[in-house]
């Protein structure tokens, strides 16, 4: 079973972020914990959480900024959430991740997380350039990243992932190569590298429309993405998804569940759940979610029942995001676009599966569009 908990609170909105978050100076901890536990109870009684479904499950506290929650609140939540996994043989078979900002990581917090059952931390490093971090509206500086990694390890949390963002506006003079070096020097077993995407209604989108920030540059994006592939490969990492690289045995089990189309359940505002057929999602604004749950109403905002065609489209898209790729039956392997892509080195055909190279992942959305138009049913 895979369970996601959305913690919507942030101290400030990052310049590129369009997630459903609630910016709060003081976090309504009690209200939040109450709501989540109540929702969990409903979820269990509704049968959406099936404890026996998968022995190798995962629990993911994402945000927002889950590390803003006091460690005691995390402990309370985990006590109940992990109960839902009671049939899992041992807690170590469970991947329990928390997303954290470097500035929130202290030895006592990290130790508390460890005691509560957390065994993986995804650290929002983003860059090792202080100017860039400020521009992003982050509170930490470069030094805090290294400190946080060392602290986590001291608390027994070795399974660490660092998030980095690339393809930043050129005027920031960000040295991507140096940032990669800095990240690799910390030797985290997992790295996520995300290309900057300009989303509507973000501070960044406004800066670009005002002309104070330059628009995204695809050439830069491509060059930096390929550089990350090269560096990480040389350092012993393997890209197992468009934006995710890991050393052996350290792939994110939780996120892999999304990409392989397995069912998952979500709690908290804006959280999505999927049972293999129906996808439903909660009310996104924190206040709306709180009012609904506290007054005994459902937190679900809406749902969709996927048609076979939609499931197929998602399957193709998600499969091609991963290194496993998509099984393609023999006659389709000879179709003109596929052969042209192979020739260009965008995809490779191995063991009856079509998988993207780094060059292919850069063009993934186009490839999927063309592929699904061909109706490569397999």
């Amino acid at each position: 079973m895979h369970l996601y908990l959305h913690v919507p609170f942030c101290a400030r909105r990052c310049s590129y972020c369009d997630f459903s978050i609630a910016v709060r100076r003081r976090i309504p901890v009690r209200g939040y914990v109450e709501c989540v536990l109540r929702e969990l109870g409903d979820l269990i009684s509704s049968g959406w959480v099936d404890p026996g479904a998968s022995p190798r499950g995962s629990l993911y506290l994402g945000g927002g900024t889950p590390s803003l929650l006091p460690p005691e609140a995390v402990a309370t939540l985990l006590t109940h959430l992990l109960d839902a996994f009671s049939s899992t043989p041992s807690l170590d078979a469970l991947e329990v991740t928390i997303e954290a900002n470097p500035e929130d990581v202290t030895l006592s917090t990290a130790s508390s997380w460890r005691r509560s059952g957390i065994n993986r931390v995804s650290l929002g490093a983003q860059s090792f350039d202080d100017n860039v971090l400020q521009w992003m509206h982050r509170f930490h500086d470069a030094a805090r990243i290294g400190a946080a990694v060392r602290t986590l390890r001291a608390a027994g949390l070795d399974n660490i992932s660092l998030d980095l963002i690339f393809a930043l506006p050129p005027e920031l003079n960000r040295d991507w190569s140096r940032d990669l070096d800095e990240a690799l020097a910390l030797a985290p077993p997992h790295l996520s590298v995300y290309g900057l995407t300009v989303e509507e209604r973000t501070p960044l989108a406004r800066w670009i429309s005002r002309g104070t920030s330059s628009a995204p540059d695809d050439d830069r994006y491509a060059a930096e993405y390929l550089l990350a592939h090269e560096r990480l490969r040389n350092a012993g990492y393997h890209f197992y998804e468009v934006s995710n690289a890991a050393r052996d045995g350290h792939r994110s089990r939780h996120n892999s569940a999304y990409w392989s189309g397995r069912p998952y359940s979500g709690l908290g505002p804006a959280a999505h759940s999927y049972d293999g057929r129906v996808r439903r999602w909660n009310l996104a604004p924190w206040e709306a979610y709180r009012r609904a749950v506290q007054s005994g109403r459902s937190a679900i905002e809406s749902q969709e029942i996927l048609t076979d065609e939609q499931r197929e489209l998602e399957r193709i898209y998600l499969a091609l995001r991963t290194d496993a790729g998509l099984p393609v039956s023999a006659p389709y392997r000879l179709l003109p676009p596929l052969t042209a892509w192979v020739e260009r080195g965008w995809v490779a055909l191995r063991g009856g599966r079509l998988a993207c190279t780094a060059q292919g992942w850069l063009r993934l959305d186009s490839l999927v569009r063309d592929l699904t138009a061909l109706a490569v049913a397999v």
Partner: protein, 601 residues
């Protein structure tokens, strides 16, 4: 009705000079129609005509009028179309009349089209009754315009005798009616002779087939008679009904020589009731036909393709339906590598093409792409044969071609004298052969030019209006086929010619055209996975080149639980978008690209 109490006449006027308003007033004044039933400008019945302020389909209205001499007259007002595309139809309807009211806007004066139609009216031997309209408007200069009319018509229009009217206000319209009675000669047909009736329009009724509007020249036409048509004499039809037109069909027992009306005889489509043709008594099919009938020839051709291949059948049915009511529309199926299955259509002119296209889209809810309109070329080959080419992509290349001939038209342009320079420049740009000019009055000039029709079908009219701030007017008629130094210019995408973009063009203009189209395509075709090389080529010789850089990236960086739905929706949308693109080889071409080449300037 006694022939000497019949008056058949029409109104000759430029667009906007008040023809329809005047018709309304006449109908109202004669009490033909209850005032409450009057819609403004009742003669223009098609919505599209109303919107564009032009009259496309002919129509007629019969009015009873008690004249000041005490007699009751039957006045038949026959409407004429007012656009250069429809010269032949105009001449047919003029032939059904004995007189014409020449309406000229008292502020704008005579326009090119008015002169053309006036000449047609004079050719048809009509009595001309000039009238200056819109004298109620502040800009009216009736004295000056009256002098012009006098110069144009000579003693038939003495400045002091020209009626000054306001069709809008009704001023002097009764005097105009009197003038019609007094000056338009009555018809002089032989009632006792075998039937000869002139078709001047035809209308398609879903239940009763093609219903021609006619003028009986000789003899009598009545229900139960067996009739034939001069253009296909062997087919015999039984007349179900005859009648006159009064904003609808009013059945009568018979139509006598000199009268105007309609006939219902179960004719399948308007192709069998062509304007200009003669209706004969089936028992007397050997009488001479009325003069002037001509097969209508398409002048402008374009491919029409459904945006969605699934609409091909719909387009075919729609064209068939339109053709039942529009004998001048020609079409035949063709296929294009780029656009799939569609039809090569022939039109009278560009306006006719636009009207057809709009009707197809509006009335039949079709989404269409059209190719660049072109004319019909005569390709003389070295082996002595002649190939007629309506589709540029079928133009043979190279050594088999001895010469190519294209249609030329004789054009008349009227423009204020201050634009002489601009007119001369435009004429030369369009490969015009200048044949002279003369002043209509100190302020206005009439130019004579001979143009290749191809040069004026695209945007000439707009250009003319732009450089003269709307004052210049154009009229043209077919002249002859002439040899020109023409080449076929292809547009290639990644080495593959896109047939829908091929044009036939004068060698001197090919480079400029090719360069502009290449630039436009570069703007309009989105970046794709592979580089796109755009080339303009004559045969194997590339004369312009552009390239579209390939996409460097198109990927969504993040995709987790909740994003899957969002991302899938985006993909679904992109897939829909792809469906609307036309695929040529590896290149996807958006619809706009096909439209854009129509507007290359």
């Amino acid at each position: 009705m006694r022939q000497d109490h019949i008056r058949n006449f029409c109104i000759v006027a430029h667009i906007d000079h008040g023809k329809s308003t005047l018709a309304d007033r006449l109908i109202e004044l004669t009490g033909t129609l209850d005032k409450r039933l009057m819609r403004e400008q009742v003669l223009d019945t098609m919505d599209l005509e109303r919107e564009r302020g032009i009259t496309i389909k002919l129509n007629a209205v019969r009015m009873q009028y008690r004249a000041r001499d005490g007699g009751i007259y039957e006045l038949n007002l026959i409407d004429t179309p007012g656009h250069v595309d429809f010269t032949y139809e105009v001449s047919r309807s003029l032939n059904a009349c004995e007189g014409a009211i020449l309406v000229v806007d008292a502020s704008q004066g005579i326009q090119a089209q008015t002169i053309s139609n006036l000449f047609l009216a004079l050719d048809a031997g009509l009595e001309i009754i000039p009238a200056l309209n819109k004298i109620d408007l502040p800009g009216a200069e009736p004295d000056r315009r009256a002098q012009e009319l006098h110069e144009l018509l000579g003693d038939g229009a003495k400045p002091g005798e020209i009626l000054r009217i306001s069709a809008k206000e009704g001023t002097n319209v009764p005097e105009l009616l009197e003038a019609v009675v007094r000056r338009v000669p009555p018809p002089r047909g032989d009632r006792a002779a075998p039937l000869r009736a002139l078709i001047f329009d035809s209308y398609f009724d879903r239940y009763r087939g093609a219903i021609p509007s006619i003028r009986v020249v000789d003899g009598v036409l009545r229900a139960g008679m067996r009739v034939a048509f001069g253009a296909h004499k062997d087919d015999v039809y039984e007349v179900d009904e005859v009648g006159y037109l009064q904003l609808g069909h009013k059945p009568t027992e018979q139509l006598d020589a000199g009268e105007v009306g309609y006939v219902v005889a179960n004719v399948r489509g308007v192709r069998d009731t062509r304007p200009g043709d003669t209706i004969l008594d089936a028992e007397h099919r050997d009488v001479p036909l009325l003069p002037g009938y001509r097969e209508i020839k398409s002048m402008v051709f374009a491919g029409l393709y459904p945006t969605d291949a699934g609409q091909f059948e719909g387009l075919r049915d729609a064209l068939a339906k339109l053709q039942l009511n529009d004998a001048s529309l020609h079409y035949e199926p063709e296929s294009s590598v780029a656009l799939g299955f569609g039809f090569r259509c022939g039109f009278l002119g560009l306006l006719h093409m636009e009207i057809v296209r709009e009707r197809l889209q509006r009335e039949f809810d079709l989404d269409l792409i059209s190719t660049v309109p072109n004319v019909e070329y005569h390709v003389h080959k070295t082996d002595g044969s002649v190939q007629v080419v309506e589709n540029p992509s079928l133009m043979p290349h190279g050594s088999t071609v001895q010469r190519i001939e294209e249609p030329f038209v004789k054009a008349r342009i009227l423009a204020p004298a201050e634009y002489i320079g601009a007119m001369m420049t435009l004429g030369q740009e369009r490969r015009g052969v200048y044949s002279g000019m003369h002043y209509l009055d100190p302020a206005r000039v009439e130019f004579g030019w001979e143009f290749p029709l191809a040069e004026i079908i695209l945007d000439f009219y707009d250009k003319l209006k732009t450089i003269s701030r709307g004052y210049a007017a154009l009229d043209y008629e077919f002249l002859e086929y002439r040899a020109s130094d023409l080449v076929r210019l292809d547009m290639l995408l990644n080495g593959e010619a896109v047939d829908a973009f091929s044009v036939i063009i004068h060698r001197d203009k090919a480079h400029e055209w090719g360069k502009k189209v290449a630039e436009r395509l570069k703007e309009l075709i989105p970046r794709q996975l592979f580089e796109i090389v755009i080339q303009a080529a004559i045969g194997t010789k590339v004369i312009a080149r552009e390239s579209i850089r390939p996409l460097r990236k198109n990927v969504t960086a993040k995709c987790y639980g909740g994003d899957v739905t969002r991302k899938r929706k985006l993909l679904e949308k992109q897939r829909e978008g792809k469906k609307r693109m036309k695929q040529v080889g590896t290149v996807e071409i958006p619809q706009e690209a096909f439209l854009a080449v129509l507007r290359v300037d």
